[in-house]
């Protein structure tokens, strides 16, 4: 029986209403947190070792401590844009337990010294945004927000708005183009004011940390990756869904134990450990411990905690093309390496599919990826380049085999069958 914090009794009926949430002890910790000196609260968050759950994995307490002191308008923004393919944890958390997010935001806003807060939720989550609106109304009427002005802002469908500076531009009513950093949002963010941006799960964890004490929370999980994490598993598995795990359990335990593994008779060909932007791992890497540092050591990342499993009935070329097309569609076009690089990667992959490519194209494609990484304002281009580069590296034989057989006249569908 593993420890459940955020997911404990998540299906309790009407948990999304204030009375049920309060029955469970909700909103008891916020007044106590607000009575603490601000610095002590930030120290407490630092001591918990909580790392951002959105993708970058940066220490939440440290990020909050970057907020400047002073009387200017400061902002807290909750990033609920969750658009990384494979990720759907925030959706379930917000839909079923919206008040935990609001309570976490009240505390985080106090820690950051913010007087205004926004939840930027992706436009596709209509049902979830309705739930949040209702919960917010309840909390406001009950006077639980204190001085905080909190609004739900609905996006309108753009992956790039999950990038923090793209999100800020979008929230300011512009096209969601990322900004040059520095200045970082902690100094100049929303409306040029100091802004703290955190993921839904990060903010939602705060009340649980304070309730159990930072020292206790830090003991969960493994060194440098403390706490529990809600992970989303999807693709070719028998029981896809969100699971709350303690960081540091083995990946095999997650994919086979929790999610039931690939369908009968299939095996894991490759898997994305942290959303579609993470470099892929193969079926040989299943014993890696699922935590920030172990995955970094395996040259990939925990990211948003979204595992996508691809079984051996799929061709790696198709997966790669699907991925590249997504990033081509979502590139905002501001930086040339990403705008052109995503486009040309798609064109080269299409050439492979049409039998017009040679093995040399793989080297060109790999070099395109290396020219994107680190050369743009944001990491959208990198997010394509890393998995595509890793697929070429790890499945080069299959790419070459695929090319050769299409060149000799086989239909792509036949090749796919050959792997089945």
């Amino acid at each position: 029986m593993s420890l459940k914090l955020l997911f404990k009794d998540i299906d309790q009926p009407d948990l999304r209403t204030l009375p049920v949430y309060r029955d469970r002890g909700g909103y008891d910790i916020a007044p106590r947190a607000l009575a603490m000196p601000r610095d002590a609260l930030v120290e407490e968050l630092k001591a918990s070792g909580l790392r951002g759950r959105g993708g970058a994995g940066f220490s939440m307490g440290t990020k909050a401590s970057f907020m400047p002191k002073g009387d200017m308008d400061k902002y807290l923004v909750c990033n609920a844009d969750e658009s990384e393919p494979g990720t759907f944890k925030d959706r379930e958390l917000m839909f079923k337990n919206p008040h935990a997010l609001i309570e976490g935001m009240v505390i985080a806003a106090y820690a950051a010294g913010a007087n205004r807060a926004f939840i930027y939720i992706r436009g596709e989550y209509v049902e979830v945004a309705d739930v949040l609106d209702a919960a917010l109304e309840e909390a406001k009427d009950a006077g639980l927000l204190g001085d905080l002005i909190l609004h739900v802002h609905r996006g309108a469908g753009a992956y790039i708005c999950g990038e923090e500076t793209g999100l800020l531009d979008s929230l300011e009513g512009k096209r969601g183009n990322p900004r040059l950093k520095p200045p970082f949002p902690a100094n100049q963010g929303l409306y040029q004011g100091p802004t703290l941006i955190n993921n839904v799960e990060t903010l939602m964890t705060i009340p649980y940390i304070l309730r159990m004490g930072a020292q206790e929370y830090a003991k969960i999980g493994v060194a440098n990756s403390s706490g529990t994490k809600v992970i989303s598993i999807s693709g070719n598995v028998q029981r896809p869904g969100n699971y709350e795990i303690e960081l540091g359990i083995s990946s095999r335990e997650i994919i086979y134990g929790l999610a039931g593994g690939p369908p009968e008779g299939r095996s894991v060909k490759l898997w994305f450990p942290g959303g579609s932007s993470s470099p892929v791992l193969t079926g040989d890497d299943l014993d890696i411990s699922y935590d920030f540092d172990s995955l970094a050591k395996a040259k990939t990342m925990l990211g948003s905690g979204a595992i996508i499993v691809v079984d051996d009935s799929n061709s790696v070329v198709d997966v790669c093309l699907k991925l590249a097309k997504f990033y081509r569609h979502e590139s905002c076009g501001k930086c040339t390496p990403c705008r052109e690089g995503t486009n040309w990667t798609v064109k080269m992959l299409e050439r492979i599919q049409q039998g017009e490519a040679t093995p040399m194209d793989l080297d060109i494609m790999a070099s395109v990826q290396s020219h994107i990484i680190g050369n743009c304002l944001c990491v959208l281009g990198d997010a394509m380049a890393m998995p595509v580069g890793s697929m070429i590296e790890k499945f080069r034989d299959e790419f070459e085999e695929y090319m050769e057989s299409v060149r000799l006249g086989a239909e792509p569908a036949e090749i796919q069958g050959a792997y089945a």
């Binding site: 029986m1 459940k4 997911f7 404990k8 009794d9 998540i10 299906d11 309790q12 308008d73 658009s83 990384e84 393919p85 494979g86 990720t87 759907f88 925030d90 959706r91 379930e92 992706r122 436009g123 596709e124 989550y125 209509v126 049902e127 609004h151 802002h153 609905r154 996006g155 309108a156 469908g157 753009a158 992956y159 929230l171 300011e172 009513g173 512009k174 096209r175 969601g176 989303s232 598993i233 999807s234 693709g235 070719n236 029981r239 896809p240 869904g241 969100n242 699971y243 709350e244 994305f272 579609s276 996508i308 691809v310 079984d311 799929n314 997966v319 699907k322 991925l323 997504f326 569609h329």
Partner: protein, 214 residues
């Protein structure tokens, strides 16, 4: 919107921009006194504007309101929003074209977004999209699109039907789904995401389905 001539490889044929008159005055903010705006639309946009320190932040909610009112972001609707927000219509158009959910060309009111991203496509989303498109045909009331990850990979292959998440959708359920939408009914009630319990078997300390107040 006029079609820009393109080569087969996608580049625009030179001269596509020649008609632009670079000498004319910059666009004007439409005058609210001479732009008729439906009272409820104006009220909704102003309510959004009041939420933000900078009213421009209401651009997306305002355009979404226009789309709800007229079915898509019509030039008239955008002009009305621009008049209320004291912005140029061109500015709002620039915002509208950035976001996938804001339509800048005429389209049906019933939106069916079929997720065709990785997780869903591993489970047959491309066939699903094809089937839905076939079933809908050229019905002008529908707006069927293959969409990027909708954040519901646990119910893949799935679709967002007028904002309601439904899945996993079997190919033989598509006909039912489409006729339900045509009749204005709930799409595949048994398959709606909101009714789905958590996949994590250890999450709940007891079974909430029995004797629970609903």
């Amino acid at each position: 919107m006029t079609d820009v001539k393109r080569y087969a490889h996608g580049s625009r044929v030179p001269g596509w921009d020649e008609a632009a008159d670079l000498d004319k005055d910059p666009a004007q903010v439409p005058d609210l006194a001479t732009t008729p705006v439906p009272e409820h639309l104006r009220a909704e946009i102003e309510r959004h504007m009041a939420k933000y320190p900078d009213t421009r932040s209401a651009a997306i909610p305002a355009l979404a309101a226009v789309q709800r009112e007229y079915g898509w972001c019509t030039p008239e609707g955008v002009e009305q929003a621009a008049a209320v927000m004291r912005l140029t219509p061109a500015y709002l158009m620039a915002v509208a074209t950035f976001y996938d959910m804001l339509e800048t060309t005429p389209t049906g009111r019933n939106t069916v977004y079929v997720c065709t991203n990785i997780s869903c496509s591993l489970l047959g989303a491309d066939e699903l999209l094809e089937r839905v498109e076939g079933e809908v045909g050229d019905d002008p009331e529908f707006n069927v699109r293959g969409f990027e990850c909708l954040g519901a990979c646990d119910i893949g292959p799935m679709a967002s039907v007028n904002g309601t998440y439904v899945g996993p959708i079997a190919l033989d359920e598509v006909a039912d789904l489409v006729s339900q939408v045509r009749a204005g009914e709930e799409p595949l009630p048994a398959k709606q995401l909101r009714r789905r319990p958590s996949a994590d078997r250890e999450a709940n300390t007891r079974d909430w389905s029995e004797g629970a107040p609903s």
